[in-house]
């Protein structure tokens, strides 16, 4: 997938408000009543509660979107998604269903990020202070999104996923507001230098 590896003004964006397109990271969804058991059998650590997430090795994560639905995303160097995808594609098990994810995946970081959310989303970010590993399914700019808060290469920030068909609209409008707030776009390698190979691919 073609993606912006580096952006000239990324350093300035990180100082204010940066929006980074991470859509090229590998991700995969699994749902069904047996999903939890199958994923655990594959050695994937899972969040015990619905609407929460845990980290995967290499900056990846597993978000539990409901009682029996999971979103897995690898970091720049992770391999869990490929492993799970391969296992599920090769073996049809009743009660476990693969969910291809072609999301727009963004990272947002910088002090004005709360103002960015105030202008685009009704969710109360304060909830993340109460429960840092919260996974939220909410609306931003009238598009359904999945939202988590966490560290982005050492910076506090947020991850946002939405249906990729809204990607052009969502990215352009969010970037427009980001620029209004003094920020800008950054590339995946500006955030994760180790993602060079991924971006090149």
């Amino acid at each position: 997938m073609a993606t912006a590896a580096r952006v000239d003004d990324a350093a300035r964006a990180f100082e204010t408000l940066a929006i980074v397109d991470l859509s090229c990271l590998q991700r995969f969804g699994v749902k069904g009543p047996q999903a939890e058991g199958v994923l655990r059998a594959l050695g994937v650590a899972l969040p015990s509660e619905a609407n929460s997430w845990v980290a995967l090795e290499g900056d990846g994560l597993v978000a539990r979107l409901g009682r029996s639905e999971f979103l897995l995303e690898d970091g720049a160097e992770g391999s869990t998604v490929a492993r799970v995808r391969g296992a599920l594609e090769n073996e049809a098990t009743t009660g476990v269903y693969a969910v291809p994810r072609q999301d727009l995946a963004l990272a947002l970081t910088g002090p004005p990020v709360s103002e960015l959310f105030a202008q685009t989303c009704s969710f109360d970010l304060h909830e993340f202070e109460r429960k840092p590993n919260l996974t939220v399914m909410t609306m931003m700019m009238e598009v359904s999104v999945t939202l988590v808060a966490g560290e982005l290469a050492g910076r506090p920030g947020f991850r946002v996923w939405c249906d990729g068909t809204f990607g052009t609209y969502f990215y352009e409008r969010l970037l427009e507001i980001t620029v209004e707030l003094g920020g800008g776009a950054a590339g995946i390698c500006d955030l994760y230098p180790e993602a060079r190979a991924l971006a090149a691919a």
Binding site: K31, T94, G95, E142, T165, T168, I177
Partner: protein, 986 residues
């Protein structure tokens, strides 16, 4: 800046920043922190605007953010309230509601004909003769309305925000700050809003010439600023209260929606004017207005002040004026006993003359300025004894006779208010859960009492937040004095004693309205328009209630109040609209369409190629060529917008049997079938193709517009049914494209490993194979009536597959085609589009699609309704129609006429080059539905044209073109790769 006072504590202005501006063409220089009104008053301007009806000169009344006689226009920005809008350098301001300039406003002649324009005159006159009504209407539209709208004003992209709090405190005065601090100290997340640019409320301006109140304000602010969980938002108005504790916050930067868990209203009170003749002369103002001018902006209200005071606050104002170097010529107090307090003593001790049991009967002025006032003693009935009249020279007259609570939010939240005779004010009686009041709005005036009341409200709010519900409206303690005079109104035979300054309503107008029978407060409001102006009665409703109470001989509590609706202050339309979000979806092929220069259109919320323009050709020609390419060679269309769902599991078949009206249990693996979906009432909601990929594995499509809706509904249904299956939405994960036309097989065969022979891959089959190296689901269906392949691939591979198909089809003359061509092609084939050829009332029987409904199934959604509907006589039916001539062409939505009755309507129509005729679909009454029947269609201009009902499909009724044979059409015919037919079309 002759009227500017020396620097003082807590002033709002920045003397180091001068801001030049103009008003009515004259130059002024204000200071940063000034509002428009304070800057003009500092510059010596006294007439700030003209009144609405009589165009009388008006100055400052309240300086409390609702002075609507001081509205200004600045370029495209109209009706700026001068007492709240911050001054900006370079402002070019003009007054509104004038004809000519402010000084010579031609509209002022209206005052001379005032006697002919009594209250409610517009309800009684101008009705006859009818022919003249448009003239009157034009005249009134010219005379009324404030400000000039510039229709060329570019759209403002004002952000809208969403904020959250545990507790919202409205008002940053003593009570509000005390409440906020107490709540924040208990770890609540507190937002305090105040519509003023600075905090403190009356602490900042009702000082009584001592420093105690500002010292207290300093302490409160320091404490508030030390609490990280307390956010103070100044210049922000809590403009309304909505269900679930949503409160719109309006500030210069836009509108924010605050969701709070509890609210304390400490919004204070609005000072009310005294009613006497010429109480609107510039120079006559509320005492609090003068105090705001003095302490916030350090502007002298006047040189020589007369103070009409019926309370402690008025005496306090007199001390404030004197302490700041102005002469106070006298205090006029209607109370025979005067002010019996330390403040009253201080006034008397300062040498200010105090006239007790007296009233200002009339203000006198010239050239729009106050020059003097006539003061009379009052008799026992409260009327002025004219024999005691005394003229007192003054250029400022301060009114301090009472207050009305700023209780709009409480009313909107559902509070029940009662009139408290002790404070002569409406106060909260019963408050809804989670809503609390504190301070003056609660009838508490003394500073110490307000602080205590604020803390008590905070304690109650914290109990509420902790789930220990409380709903007390009792104040901590009241002062035992009344700050409001029960009837601060004295009649004058010559009138011009204004009750409502927005609408120029005089005392006699309210008496006349009541005399005409409008003696209920709501009726009085509507008939007289009292409280209906831009300030919404903030300075007039309370006096109107007092007047009506007197007329009816009842207490104010029996008269009641009018309804307070949001918004509390005027809000610019641009803020209400805010930054709009209109999400649209694109398929992964959007860049391909851009490369081909596609003209896009919205289909549902999808951006789709309408057609692909050709240089030197019209849209119609381009669409015709695209359609011809599909009929004669091959075309490729992006159908990634279709909803794409997958259902897997042991109950997958049972699920489909329930959600579709057709049968699917007997489908063979590798086959596809049309599916029609209806709702519980039997109305068509969606359709698509269902493909059986494996015994327990189905892939199915929905219409473009309904993909999200259908997935949500199916998820809801299975949440109830609890069938053992997995429903997966692949709409965004997959992308589809339809390769259609007689050469489609050849194009596909070049890039796929699939056996495309009729035997191996027959019509309505589905196969999983590779296309350009990408694993794809290929459905052999024919929406456009030719051999066709729906090719569904993972979204991130779609661009590659599209390019491969285009390249493969190059020698066959492949053309990308858009929605317009597809609509024509499917119409030729008689296929309906759900949503275009159906509406919210269309059943399968109406749409002639009973073939897609299998009533014998045990159950499907809508079956019961359809069983009932089936027994009822049909009223309409979808039919095809044709016309041989091209013009005048019927259009979608045109009506079918039978005699003098409407007998149907057209849902789709187009000219078909292939068929050489106009074709279309229409709902018609049953008697007109027989093939061959002539239809009368009313087209544009009311002309009736004739069409003929025809059997469907119009094109290839035997479906021969959807089957593959050894067809020469599949081979290129010339070097360009185009068929001769396509060549001809091109």
């Amino acid at each position: 800046m002759t009227n500017r006072l020396p620097p003082g504590p807590h002033e709002w202005i920045d003397r180091s920043k001068e801001l030049p501006f103009t008003f009515e063409g004259r130059r002024y220089v204000g200071l940063a922190g000034d509002c428009v009104t304070s800057a003009l008053w500092a510059g010596g301007e006294r007439t700030l605007g003209r009144s609405f009806k009589y165009h009388r000169p008006r100055g400052i009344l309240s300086l409390a953010n609702h002075d609507v006689n001081a509205l200004f226009q600045w370029g495209p920005k109209l009706n700026l309230r001068g007492d709240i809008v911050q001054l900006a350098a370079g402002m070019n301001l003009t007054a509104v509601n004038t004809f000519g300039d402010l000084g010579t406003d031609k509209g002022r002649f209206l005052e001379k004909i005032g006697p002919f324009l009594p209250v409610g005159f517009y309800y009684k006159a101008f009705h006859k003769p009818k022919a003249l009504f448009p003239k009157w209407e034009r005249m009134f539209r010219t005379l009324t309305g404030l400000g000039k709208v510039d229709f060329q004003t570019p759209r403002m992209q004002v952000p809208k925000r969403t904020l959250h709090a545990d507790l919202l405190v409205v008002g940053a005065g003593a009570a509000g700050l005390a409440a906020a601090i107490a709540a924040a100290e208990a770890d609540a997340r507190v937002v305090v809003v105040d519509e003023n640019a600075g905090p403190g409320g009356s602490l900042g301006y009702q000082r009584g010439a001592d420093g105690q109140s500002v010292a207290l304000l300093g302490e409160l602010l320091a404490k508030a600023q030390s609490l990280s969980n307390l956010e103070l938002r100044l210049g922000t108005c809590a403009a309304g209260f909505y269900a679930d504790f949503w409160v719109p916050l309006v500030s210069a930067s836009g509108l924010a929606r605050l969701r709070t868990k509890a609210m304390i209203v400490a919004s204070g009170v609005q000072e009310q004017p005294a009613v006497f003749r010429n109480n609107d002369l510039p120079g006559v103002m509320l005492a609090s207005a003068a105090q705001r001018l003095v302490y916030r902006y350090r502007v002298k209200p006047a040189e020589a002040m007369l103070v009409l005071a019926a309370n402690l606050e008025g005496y306090s104002a007199a001390l404030d004026m004197k302490a700041n170097g102005m002469e106070v010529v006298a205090v006029v107090d209607p109370r025979p006993e005067g002010e019996a307090s330390a403040v009253g003593d201080a006034v008397r001790a300062s040498g200010i003359e105090v006239l007790c049991g007296a009233w200002v009967r009339e203000a006198l002025g010239s050239n729009g300025r106050l020059r003097s006032a006539i003061v009379c003693r009052l008799d026992e009935s409260g009327e002025a004894r004219t024999a005691t009249a005394r003229i007192i020279a003054c250029d400022g007259l301060l009114m301090s006779v009472g207050f009305a609570p700023a209780a709009a939010l409480l009313y909107q939240a559902g509070a029940r208010m009662r009139y408290d005779e002790g404070v002569q004010q409406f106060v909260p009686d019963v408050l809804p859960g989670g809503v609390f009041a504190a301070g003056r709005v609660n009838g508490v005036y003394a500073t110490a009492h307000k602080i205590e009341d604020g803390r008590q409200a905070a304690a109650a709010a914290l109990d509420w937040l902790a789930g220990r519900a409380t709903s007390s409206s009792q104040p901590a303690v009241r002062d035992g004095r009344s700050p409001s005079h029960p009837y601060p109104i004295v009649a004058h035979p010559e009138g011009k004693n204004f009750v409502d300054f927005d609408e120029d309503l005089q005392l006699k107008d309210l008496f006349n309205a009541a005399q005409e029978g409008f003696d209920n407060i709501e009726l009085l409001k509507r008939y007289s328009t009292v409280g209906m102006g831009p300030s919404q009665g903030k300075h007039s409703n309370m006096n109107a209630i007092r007047i009506l109470a007197k007329i009816r001989g009842e207490p104010c509590g029996a008269v009641g109040t009018t309804t307070a609706r949001p918004f509390y202050h005027p809000v610019p339309m641009g803020m209400l609209a805010g930054r709009g979000f209109s999400p649209y979806r694109t398929t992964p092929l959007q860049s391909c369409h851009k490369f081909l220069g596609a003209v896009s259109m919205m289909a549902g919320n999808w951006l789709r190629p309408e057609y692909y323009p050709q240089v030197g050709k019209s849209k119609e020609e381009a669409v015709r060529e695209e359609a011809a390419a599909v009929r004669m060679a091959v075309g490729l269309i992006d159908i990634g917008t279709l909803g794409k769902l997958e259902v897997r599991g042991p109950d997958a078949v049972a699920f489909l049997e329930r959600v579709y009206a057709g049968t699917f249990a007997d489908m063979k693996v590798g086959s596809t079938r049309y599916g029609l979906m209806v709702d519980e009432t039997g109305i068509i909601t969606d359709d698509g193709v269902v493909a059986r990929l494996a015994h327990e594995h189905f892939f199915f499509t929905t219409t473009t517009s309904n993909s999200a809706l259908v997935y949500r509904e199916l998820s809801r249904l299975n949440a109830m049914w609890r069938l053992e299956l997995g429903l997966v939405n692949l709409t965004g994960g997959y992308c589809g494209m339809n390769l259609a036309g007689p050469r489609s097989r050849a194009v596909l065969a070049r890039v796929s490993d699939i056996d495309t022979s009729e035997a191996a891959f027959p019509f309505l089959a589905v196969q999983e194979a590779t296309v350009a190296g990408v694993t794809a689901r290929i459905l052999r269906v024919g929406f456009v009536g030719e051999v066709g392949y729906e090719i569904h691939v993972p979204a991130d591979q779609a661009h590659h597959v599209w390019d491969a198909l285009i390249e493969s089809g190059r020698i066959h003359g492949i053309r990308a085609f858009g929605v317009e061509a597809q609509r024509l092609l499917r119409l030729e084939k008689g296929h309906i589009i759900v949503g275009q050829d159906t509406d919210g009332l269309t059943t399968p029987f109406d749409a002639a699609m009973q073939w897609a409904v299998k009533m014998q199934k045990p159950f499907f959604v809508g079956q019961r309704s359809l069983a009932i509907l089936k027994q009822k006589p049909r009223k309409q039916r979808l039919v095809g129609f044709v016309r041989d001539t091209r013009e005048p062409a019927p259009k979608e939505g045109h009506l079918v006429i039978d005699g003098t009755n409407i007998a149907g309507r057209i849902t789709s129509t187009a000219w078909s080059d292939t068929l050489g005729m106009q074709i279309g679909l229409a709902y018609v009454s049953i008697p007109l539905a027989q093939p061959g029947t002539e239809l009368q269609i009313r087209v544009d201009g009311g002309v009736l044209v004739t069409a003929r009902v025809a059997k469907l499909p119009f094109y290839d009724p035997a479906n021969t073109r959807q089957r593959i044979g050894d067809d020469a059409r599949e081979r290129p015919e010339n070097e360009s790769g185009r068929s001769s037919a396509v060549e001809a079309a091109v």
